[in-house]
């Protein structure tokens, strides 16, 4: 496994510095722990920012203003909410299965964190450029479904159970078209590594159309976007947390910091799906690089594209409504799977033509 050195050559620097006053093995451990903490910080910050953006965006789309009072333009609202959630009483209902109840938010958060490990934020900023980065993403996305099932089952609450069951059915069903849609981009790039996929989208046709995969397989992008919405439980697929039916689905019995963990994981996943779509279809960190701070611009382009897709997801959230469970399953198995298979055939044709 390549070491976590794809970064700014940090490994030697930091470990070297640390082994000045600690044993080498401890330095290595601290380095890796630090990397983990970095991911946690990244997710938390992103989630805070995204929650604020969501509330503002949805507010404006609904003819109202969103947070305004805490801090200028309401910028401190999410921080205030985080503080509020942290100081809430930790309520564990009496008859829950304590082991499952307590463990579930951590499993879901863990899977979200693992996903962030392989996101190519910039040519040199990728925590771990695994050869099978794309599959890693899918695999740990499916770990989340187990966490939701644990939460739903362990809550000793029928609403949570129904929510947990629905979420598992949904995640498992929509994994199939998602992987098939991703496969299209992988075929075009010829590699499963996230970094390689972005590198394969370098350049321009005719001087002004970037060689992004979205132009080569728009169908794949649409399918991936919809499946991404379903995997993370966003509208129109927010049945597991169907607010008007199952109070809060698997979330019903959670309050305080545990709820905050679920919430953070949800927003982290939201961003991760957008980031993945950016990597696969929108050219990742490609974009014009200016001479001022040249190492920052790819990151800026990546974030801009991912944020644009996140905005689309929020837009969808305010506009559309949720499916019924059987309509959702129909949609996955009878519509998306055939379409994604069709997409693979089309992509195979394109690959044959290009090569």
């Amino acid at each position: 496994m390549p070491d976590v050195t794809q970064g700014l050559g940090a490994y030697e620097v930091i470990v070297g510095w640390l082994s000045g006053f600690t044993p080498h093995w401890l330095a290595e451990v601290l380095y890796r722990v630090g990397a983990g903490l970095l991911i946690l910080t990244l997710i938390s910050t992103l989630a805070l920012v995204l929650v604020y953006i969501l509330r503002k965006v949805m507010g404006h789309m609904q003819c109202r203003l969103g947070p305004r009072v805490t801090g200028p333009f309401g910028l401190l609202q999410t921080a205030a909410d985080a503080v509020k959630l942290m100081q809430k009483e930790d309520i564990i209902p009496t008859n829950v299965d304590r082991f499952l109840f307590i463990l579930a938010p951590y499993v879901v958060f863990f899977s979200c964190g693992m996903i962030f490990m392989v996101l190519p934020l910039s040519p040199t900023w990728i925590l771990n450029d695994l050869e099978v980065g794309v599959l890693f993403f899918v695999a740990f996305g499916s770990l989340a479904s187990f966490g939701l099932l644990m939460g739903g089952f362990g809550s000793n609450n029928k609403y949570s159970l129904v929510g947990g069951m629905r979420s598992v059915a949904q995640v498992v069903s929509y994994e199939v078209p998602m992987v098939l849609a991703i496969l299209g981009a992988v075929m075009l790039a010829g590699s499963l590594s996230m970094h390689q996929i972005v590198v394969a989208q370098e350049g321009m046709w005719l001087g002004f159309i970037p060689k992004w995969f979205i132009f080569l397989q728009p169908l794949g992008f649409v399918i991936y976007f919809l499946c991404g919405l379903a995997e993370t439980g966003q509208t129109p697929f927010d049945l597991p947390e169907g607010e008007s039916e199952l109070v809060a689905g698997y979330n019903t019995e959670y309050s305080g910091m545990r709820f905050a963990l679920f919430f953070l994981a949800e927003f982290g996943n939201l961003f991760a799906i957008s980031a993945m779509a950016t990597t696969l279809f929108l050219g990742g960190w490609h974009g014009p690089v200016f001479s001022f701070l040249p190492w920052l611009w790819p990151f800026v382009w990546f974030m801009a594209k991912a944020m644009a897709l996140t905005f689309c997801m929020m837009w969808v959230r305010s506009t559309w409504l949720r499916f019924r469970i059987d309509q959702m399953m129909d949609f996955a198995w009878k519509i998306l799977v055939p379409l994604s298979l069709l997409n693979i055939f089309i992509t195979a044709g394109e690959v044959a033509i290009i090569r």
């Binding site: 080498h24 299965d97 499916s142 362990g154």
Partner: protein, 174 residues
């Protein structure tokens, strides 16, 4: 590869603890769902071991299939066939004489395996590339090993058709 660094030793210890602890948890935990979670921990530990052996593809497949699919199916099976309360649903937890006999048998098998592992002259095949494993695997499956691939596909198709038929039966019945 040479001598493993201390860091690698620590990581391997943690992973092995996960695997063995998870396995013991499956056998000894009273609550079936907890046993299932212990099994998931065991799977994740095994995936970690694969990662540390630079078998990325295998590790990812381990997580995707075992944790993402098999564990969930087992959870459903547990929920659908549970008798009585959940807290002591794992009825076959050994204790007393059973435990002693089981431990003795396990120890015997363990000793035999360890001797076998330590005394065999393992040889690396040298055919496996260090990078681009996926391409190698894909080509191998489709050119040199098509029959197992096709049989696996047929097996999955049979399972899928069987599942649909069982579900249809339920729909017709109700």
């Amino acid at each position: 590869m040479g001598e493993p660094t201390t860091g690698k030793i620590i990581v391997f210890s943690v992973l092995t603890a996960m695997v063995i602890g998870g396995g013991l948890g499956v056998v000894f935990l009273r609550n079936v769902f907890h046993a299932l979670v212990a099994m998931v921990v065991c799977f994740l530990g095994v995936a970690g071991v694969y990662f540390s052996l630079q078998a990325d593809f295998l590790a990812v497949m381990q997580v995707l299939i075992y944790v993402g699919a098999v564990a969930v199916v087992i959870a459903f099976a547990v929920m659908l066939t549970r008798r009585g309360t959940m807290a002591d649903s794992n009825r076959f937890v050994a204790s007393g004489l059973q435990l002693a006999i089981g431990a003795a048998v396990a120890a015997g098998v363990g000793v035999a395996l360890l001797r076998l592992i330590c005394e065999t002259a393992w040889q690396a095949s040298g055919k496996f590339p260090a990078t681009d494993v996926t391409r190698f695997l894909g080509e191998a499956l489709l050119t040199r090993l098509p029959i197992p691939f096709e049989i696996a596909a047929v097996l999955l198709l049979v399972a899928l058709v069987g599942a649909v038929m069982i579900a249809l039966e339920e729909v017709h019945k109700s």
